[in-house]
């Protein structure tokens, strides 16, 4: 009898060991698979809503007076100066917040928030303003008529209108007079599995970019661990850019 029991125990142990291994593989494998898809999507494959690109900005690490992200954006996307700053395109800018009572200042980069419910898309009369399946909000300049409704609708002043002729654009970032444009999350880099230029340029490590739908991604883990917020979260737009420490 005792011998019989031992046999059963051994059998149970083996069964449990095997099933745990199978379970573990089942749990890890989809994560690994998702990660691979997110980083190296083949060029002939369309984007899907399985991925949602997002960014977390740690304002505690963002230095006042540092504008490396802004400079990197200008170089990457070929944003040139017209000589009249008031009409220059701004895809990302540095903003300083000051608490009037305490005098405490916070510095942070402000860019298109890549809303899940983008007001710019809602108001666009031609369908030029659109959200890609992976959450990146873009302007299709082939369809844009330059009416600038989106600029009025955007709560973050993220969009710019191009007033003058542009030449020698970057091949990956076509831009021209009479259309509206904004941060593309460096979509051409993201499609190659790279991070946006601003994120790569930030030496302070204040910006994290990744797939918010992948629980294993760095951004998802950080969002789980730290307290973050959406600017004008009261609008319920479900933003792709989150801020920590404001």
């Amino acid at each position: 009898m005792a011998n019989n029991d031992t046999n059963i125990d051994q059998y149970r142990r083996r069964f449990l060991e095997r099933s745990t291994a199978v379970l573990a593989a089942g749990v890890i494998a989809p994560g690994v698979f998702l990660h691979t898809v997110a980083n190296a999507r083949p060029a002939d494959e369309a984007v899907t809503s399985k991925v949602r690109w997002g960014m977390l900005v740690d304002s505690g690490k963002c230095k006042t007076g540092c504008d490396k992200c802004v400079k990197a954006c200008e170089v990457e996307n070929g944003l040139t100066r017209t000589g009249r700053p008031e009409i220059d395109a701004q895809w990302i800018r540095k903003v300083t917040l000051k608490n009037k009572q305490t005098g405490h200042t916070t510095s942070l980069p402000m860019l298109c928030q890549h809303c899940a419910e983008p007001p710019c898309v809602d108001v666009c009369p031609t369908g030029a303003s659109f959200k890609r399946a992976d959450g990146i909000v873009l302007v299709d300049k082939h369809i844009c008529i330059g009416c600038r409704y989106c600029m009025m609708a955007c709560p973050y002043k993220a969009r710019s209108f191009i007033h003058e002729d542009i030449t020698d654009q970057k091949a990956h970032a076509p831009r021209g007079k009479g259309t509206v444009e904004s941060c593309t999350f460096c979509v051409h880099r993201v499609d190659k599995g790279q991070s946006p230029a601003c994120v790569s340029a930030c030496d302070e490590g204040a910006m994290v970019f990744g797939d918010m739908n992948d629980p294993q991604s760095e951004i998802s883990q950080r969002l789980r661990e730290v307290q973050s917020m959406e600017i004008r979260g009261d609008l319920g737009l479900n933003l792709g850019v989150r801020y920590q420490g404001i």
Partner: protein, 129 residues
């Protein structure tokens, strides 16, 4: 725009017919890199705008970045060098696109936003304003 398409087809037809008429000026089409274009030459002459249009929507909206019908690749292969050895822009009558489009009087607005020259390392003020 079917009107433009018809005009293009007429223009293409003219290319094919014109050598018969002696003395009629025909555009001298610059040769691209490599042996063969991504499609048959006659096919490209008639349908290049359709290919580019299709690719444009695929890339813009669906993130498909295949090179076959991409405008960027057209520009790379069909770059024409000017007297200074640098690729010329669409403003020049020597530019691959300009050669036919000027001849056929079909204006294109691709290059209001897209660069008509292949990407090279640029220095200084790139705005040209």
């Amino acid at each position: 725009m079917p009107g433009v398409r018809i005009m293009m087809r007429v223009a293409v037809l003219l290319f094919l017919v014109t050598p018969v008429w002696a003395g009629t000026p025909v555009p001298e089409i610059p040769k691209g890199k490599g042996q063969q274009c991504v499609e048959d030459t006659a096919m490209m002459r008639t349908n290049h705008m359709e290919f580019i249009l299709h690719q444009r929507d695929d890339t813009m909206h669906r993130g498909i970045r295949t090179k076959k019908h991409s405008l960027k690749e057209c520009i790379e292969c069909h770059a024409v060098k000017g007297d200074d050895g640098m690729p010329v822009s669409v403003e020049s009558p020597k530019h691959f696109c300009s050669v036919c489009h000027r001849y056929a009087a079909v204006s294109i607005d691709c290059f209001q936003c897209h660069n008509s020259k292949p990407e090279i390392k640029l220095t200084g003020d790139r705005n040209g304003q």
